[in-house]
């Protein structure tokens, strides 16, 4: 097993598996966020968040999630370094853009932007809610999570950062999703077109889905939490 994990193919398998796990997390996160649109002042969203914090299963998955992010990032840096070292003398003229997509060649760039956003995102929401207690549980008096979200998303700087990060997330997923299946060996002639399409569809869904929050809150303000759609 150690041999597998230190081999080129093993490292890629780890990237693929952690990547796909993070994709599942994105779906879950989107599902929770959509509850901000329920027009109940963020009550559903707050309760859903509260429910997750107090679920032992979610807490375990949360540990796996943090572990996955760290492994995915670490492995990405190691692999990119190896790949760069594999060509000590670069080409004077390189037409690689004619044979591969921009998305596939810039996973480190798009991933770095996502990582930066994750750190900011954790600082803004995870830290005050889960660590410092600045944001309180639904039944308590004080600032609730949904209110914190609405306040952040109506801030033009945060909304812009959110939007840009979501765009790069979509770029990252556009290559990453189908690439993970290729790495896991699930790609055969029959499934390649389906998986490529599914990857792009997933990227677009996540892009539009997550972009809707900063866009709508920025346009309509914090009051949007109370809108009955």
């Amino acid at each position: 097993m150690t041999k597998f994990l230190t081999s080129s193919l093993g490292k890629k398998t780890v990237m693929a598996m952690t990547g796909l796990f993070l994709c599942i997390f994105l779906l879950e996160h989107l599902y929770t966020n959509v509850q901000l649109f329920f027009g109940d002042g963020g009550k559903s969203f707050d309760e859903a968040s509260h429910g997750m914090v107090h679920s032992i299963i979610i807490r375990i998955i949360e540990v796996v999630l943090f572990f996955s992010i760290i492994v995915h990032v670490y492995q990405a840096v190691v692999l990119t370094k190896n790949n760069s070292d594999a060509r000590p003398v670069k080409y004077a003229v390189n037409g690689v853009s004619k044979t591969s997509s921009w998305f596939s060649r810039n996973m480190l760039l798009t991933g770095s932007i996502i990582l930066f956003f994750i750190v900011v995102h954790l600082y803004n929401f995870f830290l005050p809610y889960r660590i410092t207690g600045e944001v309180v549980e639904p039944e308590a008096q004080g600032e609730h999570l949904a209110e914190r979200v609405a306040a952040a998303l109506t801030n033009p700087y945060y909304a812009a950062l959110y939007l840009i990060s979501v765009l790069f997330l979509a770029f990252h997923l556009n290559h990453g999703f189908q690439s993970a299946f290729q790495t896991l060996g699930a790609n055969t002639k029959k499934y390649v077109p389906i998986l490529k399409m599914a990857g792009t569809a997933f990227a677009i869904l996540m892009g539009i889905g997550f972009a809707s929050f900063p866009i709508l809150f920025f346009i309509f303000g914090e009051e949007f939490l109370n809108w009955n759609l």
């Binding site: 080129s8 670069k90 080409y91 044979t99 591969s100 690439s179 060996g185 002639k189």
Partner: protein, 252 residues
Amino acid sequence: MEGSSLNLTLKIWRQKNAQDSGKFATYNVSDISTDMSFLEMIDVLNEQLITKGEEPVAFDHDCREGICGMCSMYINGRAHGPWNGTTTCQLHMRAFKNGETITIEPWRAGAFPVIKDLVVNRSAFDRIIAAGGFVSVNTGNAQDANALPIPKDDADASFAAAACIGCGACVASCKNSSAMLFVSAKVSQLALLPQGQPERIDRVLNMVKQMDEEGFGNCTNTGSCEAECPKEISLDNIARLNREYLFATLKK
């Protein structure tokens, strides 16, 4: 159809030997027929250089009919030039415009050190094959062709993988200098046939181990290799290699 002729500027990588740091040299060639192959154009240049008493450009070539995989040249940023599915000898000068400047570099990869000018050492591929890219057979007469039933689809996929000529264009064009397309083709051609079964697990483990030791990069599924492969080896093979390696690890 009557061909026309071209006047070209060539920027060619010149490097005395493996130790030399190398640099580009610029040459002009004129009256190059568009019917010539790219290698014939280099022949014309070398005739000029020899006449002038200069060192001709060293380049690998053997069959000149697109099947030996020796003519490793990175032409204007593309392995074997701008055409898809061709080696350099099958690239014709009609692919270029009159007055064009053509940049010619050797394959660039740590695992393929430059020997001289445009010639690189691809022994790393030989060592990968030696690690397991074969079927051990007892001597004796070949058995009857129909004694081993093989599904047509498997035979076709195996044959398509076996078309790999080991030219190294996949490594050269990959942004990571990964040899995965080559190794996957060599693993696939045998994994798909009954003759390849007894050594199937060790083959993939040993070949991947050797590939890693040679210092090739890791595949990031960009697809450049498939696009540049003169034999149009499919990325399907890389998925199969991943599968083979995963199962082999689980079994052994």
